[in-house]
Every structure is written in C-alpha cells, then in structure tokens.
Point group: C2
Chain length 212, copies 2
C-alpha cells in the first residue's frame, strides 16, 4: 500500500507528524522508536558476526539478530496499525446518536474501536520490551566498536515502552469491559516494572566497555 506511513520519506513523515492532523501521533512514534532500537541491535549483530575477535559469540549473535529482526517487523507493522485503529475510533465517534437504538449501536462500536486502539499500543510496548533481553549479551560480548549503539538501543527501548503505554492509559477510561481494563493495567505494570533498572544495567556495561 503506497499510502502506508513506512513508505513516506523520513522528512515527510516528520512533517506529517508535526502537522495538526491527529495521525501519525504518539502511538506510531512509539512503534517507530522500538523499530529504531531493533534496527540498531541488528546492525550491531552484523558488525559482530564473521569477525574473528567475536567468533565465540557468533552463534548467539545470530539468534539475537533473528529475534531483533522479527520484533522489528512486528513494530514496523504497528506504525501503520496505530493510524488505522485511531481512524476506526474517530469513525465510531462520528456515528449518529439521535435515537436510543443509534446511541446504543454507536456505543458498541466505540467500545470495539477503543479496545483495538488499546491493543495496538499494548502490543507495541510488549514487542519493545522484548528487545531488552537482547541488549545485555550484545553490550557485553558484541563488537566493541558498536557498543555505543547498544546503549542507544537501550535508551530507545526505555522510551518506547512507556510511550506506547501512555497511549493505552489514555484509552482505558472509555472502556466498559472492566476485566479487559484490569488485564491491560496489569500487563502495563509488568512491562514497566524493573525497566529503568535493567536499562541502567545495560548502560553500565556499555560505559564500562567504552572506557576500557
């Protein structure tokens, strides 16, 4: 689809982001931030694999690379998905509500659309968080020349997860399905718990290798 966000030149993506149009917005940016982190991790794997100095780490680097690329594909798909679920939500709010039947049908549509608009950033947060366990071994044993890029990836993960979850939080008050709301809140808490600390550990390894 030529209309996909991913096909826009970076400059145009930024211009559209900065415009008063509601999409792309924070949800797509969170997904892009995660995809940038994944891309950096893959790059570090590629600068590690095939180098004599890192031969003992090569098999593990290949596994990390495959995982990073799978998560990058997922995160890139959420870039567009976020725009689509937001469009669905706007469309639901525009449905007629003149009669009681219309109002009831409209509310049902809003519930469905809000749930979708919550699930996409939740999945974004989950995919971005899944990148974090890849950072520590890469920071410790990957190419030293690219270790700062692992640090950048870790910083981006720390930004992408709570950014995506802000887009969950903003939708939850509109949802009537309390079981879903509680589940979403529990997942959000699980994804952010210990995030800062684990990112800090990766950064400490990065700084140690830059220094030494």
């Amino acid at each position: 689809m030529s209309d996909e966000l991913q096909n826009r030149p970076v400059r145009q993506f930024l211009d559209e982001l900065a415009s008063g149009a509601p999409t792309p917005g924070g949800g797509s940016v969170a997904a892009l931030t995660g995809a940038l982190a994944a891309g950096l991790l893959t790059m570090v794997c590629d600068l590690t694999i095939g180098k004599k100095a890192y031969a003992a780490f090569e098999d593990e680097a290949r596994v990390i690379r495959a995982r990073a690329e799978a998560l990058r594909a997922e995160l890139q798909s959420f870039l567009q998905a976020d725009v689509e679920v937001f469009g669905g939500l706007m469309a639901a709010y525009k449905l007629p509500k003149a009669t009681e039947a219309e109002a009831s049908a409209r509310n049902a549509e809003i519930q469905i659309a809000t749930r979708s608009a919550t699930e996409v950033p939740l999945r974004t947060a989950r995919a971005a968080a899944a990148l974090l366990p890849l950072c520590e071994p890469l920071a410790r044993r990957g190419s030293r020349n690219a270790v700062s890029d692992v640090g950048v990836a870790a910083q981006l993960i720390r930004a992408a997860v709570p950014s995506a979850l802000l887009n969950v939080d903003i939708n939850l008050p509109a949802l009537e399905d309390t079981a879903f709301v509680e589940q979403a809140r529990a997942q959000a808490a699980e994804l952010t718990g210990g995030l800062d600390q684990r990112v800090g550990e990766v950064l400490a390894i990065v700084r140690e290798r830059i220094a030494g």
Copy 2:
C-alpha cells in the same frame, strides 16, 4: 540532495540502519529521536491553537511551536551531518602512514575529523535538551486530547540526549586537545544533570491530566 537520509522512505531508513553498514548509526538515530519529539510538540501546539478552550494559552503555544520547529529543523540537519562526519573520520583513518610525515599528517586529520564527529552529537544533545522546557507548559495548558503526545515527546527527549552523548563519549578518548575534551565532558554533564527529574515532572503532569 536526493542521497540525503531524510529523503529515504522510513522503511528503507530502518533497513539501512539494520544493515552492517556503519551509517546510519546511533548518532543519526539520536538526532531523529529528537526530531520526533519536536514534531510531536508542534502537533500538540497545532491541536491547541485556535481552540476556544485554550485561548488564554494561544500566544504562548505559538511561541512554543516556533521554537519546536526551529529545533526540529536543526535536529533533522544533524541526521545527515552525523553520517558525513563519520565518513570523514573513516577517510582520515584510511590515510597513508608509511612515512613519519604521512603518519603525522594522518594524525592531524584524525584529530580534526574526530572533533567534528564529537561536535555533531554534542549539538544534537543540546538541541534535544532545549526541547524539554517546552514540554511542561504544553503538558499543563495544551490540548488535553493530545497530552499523551507531550508525554511521548518527554520520553523521547530523555532518550535522545544521552544517546547523542554516548556518541560523544566514544570519540573523546581519541582526542589530544584536552581542553576540548574537558569542555565536552562538562557540557555533557550539564545536559544530563537533572534530565530524569525534569522529564519525571512532565510525566507526572501528563498522568494527572489523563486521569482527571
């Protein structure tokens, strides 16, 4: 220049980032992260300006918008500048060093190129940090519908500043100009000092407005 990184489709930018080519790398990603934050802040201004409910904040929102756009332009230029200074650095390292005169000329070039490769991420960090004071008034008084986007921008700023500075740190050990190195370290310390706390304050305002 059609070869500019910014003219690449987002998808291609991510593919090139993920490739084993050393650029684009963490420096360009730090600049892009800052530009994404700036774009979100401009978007929130555009969703605020012209709305009756935010009329009292409109003049300030216009000032914030102009500042965000100026910083976005600067950050977008660093996306490409980072690739160019890295290219200059690689070229300097490839200079001949067979004779003493060659080795001395090569070292002089390396010093110049490393300094440039340090200045670009330092300016990136400074521009990204300059976005932070724009967040608090926007979070507090900008459109409530877009307040989560201010939160995302704040998270991105917190990622962009130290990410850019990692690209400063990795270059400093090669520099012989100790006065420049000390100055760079002092600037880096100034840019990161209190960053987490100030981002936390913005996020607290964002969460308060989402909840209430």
